[in-house]
Symmetry: C3
């Protein structure tokens, strides 16, 4: 049981995909989500206050500044734009795949957990997330 | 084959859960551990010298200071206390789930690897970790 | 279906293992790779421009400086060399395990994705990566 989700992104931010994953899973087992790119991530985060998502982005933008920031002058892979190498760094640090247990067709998420694609690039992208269900 | 572990925490720190996971798994396959919260994490770390765990905590506290630190003045999600948004950030950066191969009922951990719940919040919590075994 | 890969490392850096993983997997399911150490990591990163890998290493070396850097004077687990505790920190922050969907014997990697062992220690090591395939 497998599929591939496509998520259209329009600049940096967290794009919630909990609903489409929840609609797709069934049975009992573990669902693996795997993002087929090296400049965006998958994260599970609080789905209640949108300020959490803004603060997360603000934090990671400070932790990994744009390549045109003097603090990042040592970067050499800069030909694809100042947001590209920082996106690779964030993609190494944040999950490329997520695994969530599923019981009787329901994701075992906690009350406040949502699943997000975290886009790190500025221009619009169509991101692909491979999904596979393995039975318990 | 599934269960849910409850771990009582009493402030920031690493709480070892290797024993209860090792006692529960059986057969051959992969065990998924999934923490149902957005302000604590699961990590695999050295189980020999307790100084490693203290140093880890010290590092992440410096990397993600408390919201009342002037360096974090840009945070806006602060109504749940100065340790809350930093806990969300650490929870995005550190694993929400872990997968460990199991062979004939034994976790394939290296000699020095232990499994820990990493609590980021100051007040006491009861943390839930969903566990599911999928056969190889 | 399980195996263990051994990767000889000779100092810090990214060592590509995509080929040996691709050659080993078969059928349809999810492959779990699990590194049995607490001072190296597994990452999925761009396999096109080697500058990406150099920049990644440079970034993480700045984020987690050597223990003999004055900024790290608070570390106490220093008896195994100045590169040891920073290696544990990087190993907590970067993946200890990876899961990749496999369809008809093919890894579902994106065009630019390669699988790497990320060595954080300076001296030579023989690193072990447990691999297990679970059917979908």
């Amino acid at each position: 049981m497998q599929t591939r989700f496509t998520i259209a992104t329009d600049g940096p931010g967290l794009y919630e995909i909990t609903g489409q994953v929840a609609d797709w899973v069934r049975g009992t087992g573990v669902v693996t989500l795997f993002v087929q790119h090296t400049s965006c991530s998958l994260v599970i985060q609080e789905n209640a206050d949108p300020a959490v998502q803004r603060d997360l982005m603000a934090y990671f933008d400070r932790l990994v500044p744009s390549a045109d920031d003097p603090a990042m002058a040592y970067l050499t892979h800069v030909q694809e734009g100042p947001d590209d190498m920082p996106a690779h760094i964030k993609a190494a640090m944040l999950p490329v795949s997520l695994q969530v247990p599923v019981t009787d067709g329901r994701l075992a998420l906690g009350t406040w957990q949502g699943i997000y694609l975290f886009e790190h690039r500025r221009r619009a992208h169509r991101r692909k997330v491979a999904a596979m269900m393995v039975p318990a």
